[in-house]
Amino acid sequence: MAKILIPTPLRPYTDKQDAVEASGATIGELLADLTRQHSGLKAHLYNEQGKLRSFVNVYINDEDIRYLQKENTPVHAGDTVSIIPSVAGGAPTAEDVSRVRAEPELTGDEYKRYSRHLIMPEVGLDGQKKLKASKVLCIGAGGLGSPVAMYLAAAGVGTLGIVDFDTVDFSNLQRQILHGTPDVGRPKLASAKDRLNALNPNVHVETYETALTSENALKLFEPYDVIVDGTDNFPTRYLVNDACVLLGKPNAYGSIFRFEGQASVFATKEGPCYRCLYPEPPPPGLVPSCAEGGVLGVLPGLLGVIQATEAIKLILGVGEPLIGRFLIVDALRMKFRELKLRKDPDCPVCGTHPTVTTLIDYEQFCGVKPAADQASATSHQPPATNMEITPTELKQRLDRGDKLQIIDVREPHEYQINRIPGSTLIPLGDIPKRANELDPDAELVMQCKSGVRSGKAADFLRSQGFKHVLNLKGGILAWIDQVDPTQPKY
């Protein structure tokens, strides 16, 4: 026989006794005997699977059985076993929002509009009300944000927030279906709001015309249940991830490049976050952006619709979201692969001992700008200016007859669209093996579309002993702006 000390909240089930006797050779047997004697205890000590509830702590002579042999810990006569509560709780997260927020009623029009949802058992009236009560925030109203916002609005998500500060450009229209030709030059949020209001006037569209920053992210995310990451750069991606982890809000993640896309659901309570997958950002410039590398116009449609699907599943609480699963889409081969992701216990933000507990400077973290203590008056163009040349300077020097060799490091299909007269095409990937074609003593001007790839090529050549390597600032786009407006831009 051993003595079991009963905590206050359980005493009503032991006839108000604060200590009772039970027998058993192990803790498991002892507790089984206890619940046989006092059956009301069972539901509070054990969960539906018959396991001790996580907030029930059992100590034997002041030692936590978790650090002994758990329920197999042997019990000897005269031992004292204590049941000690942990008390836990917290504000609602997206997963339980529907239980907490008052469920709105649907109007007659909404019954008609959502009838194809209402007849599905997985959605039904309850699910449609959950959607109406829900709030989703889209980061970006671009390629991914367009299909995400449009499908979520059509599906009846009650509040749709959008963060963006860009204006619509002609080059957006190939994929950003929120915006149309007459919208070019307008703020993206203005055209997004028009489009979404026309699509479903029942949806409350909340717009935030600002860049997402470490200063405003927590405040912006706070009212929302699900965050949809439609960003196109690493600093913002890490910022969205960390803010989601800190607030306990799921992140329906998607990214796209050329023919490839990725999707997952990060920052749920049980699942991994983006940092579990990528603890460190890639070196700046290594992973080209869509502006540099291009993207198939329908690809954000494909990935954005996956993100919207995941957001809806999270709100409805149905199916198997992409939690702990990393989906890789290859549109060229039309293959979908899935990688298993695990929550990293050493993750700096969602691990057991996080080192990142507030939002940091993500531009610095991603190496996009120098650390504050070494930052001087320089702008965010990393190379020193004596390693760069502007298009105007280049034109002047060419006109003077200076002997300069212009190396265009873009791809041949880009070279077909526009080029600087007299330039030599050597795609970036070929630079290492074709560097021997270049004269190490000649003055070289490296050039690409906007200056990122050519900057890398210039760094490489300098490391190989080339002494006079300049990077054309702003690439061919700046050349067209400043020198030769007759050429087409892309």
């Binding site: 359980l10 008390v87 917290g90 609602p92």
Partner: protein, 152 residues
Amino acid sequence: MTDRRLTISREVDAAIRAHGQQTYPHECCGALVGRDGRVAATVPLPNTTEEGPRRRFLVRPSDYREAEQQATRLGGELVGFYHSHPDHPARPSQYDLDHAWPTFAYIIVAVAEGAAKEMTVWFLQEDRSSFDEGTLHHGENTDSHSASAVHR
């Protein structure tokens, strides 16, 4: 078990609100000490959650024991716990429900942008399926013997 009342003194009310404001934007937590549906004192406790204190609180077993001893020292017993919901309504979450103990009173104070607002009290239903909302009464003075003993 419906229509349960919990009487709290003005000092207790003020202490819970002040604690919620002090820890904002994180959740605060603490124990309620008293007897027979009356709360006479609070024991503020550290929030030891590892899941993000903006949305979670955790009272460790060691702190629970400490609170229990404190309650005995004050001449009362543990009647429940309080916590705050920063920028969220004073309604229990699913997480609150999953982790609730029977018979305890759970006070929730909503803290909006740093200012304490609505305060509610909840009791777990016997079958653990949901909470019943109780009614909070503000007693000026505690009239029972045991409770006055814990009144500070």
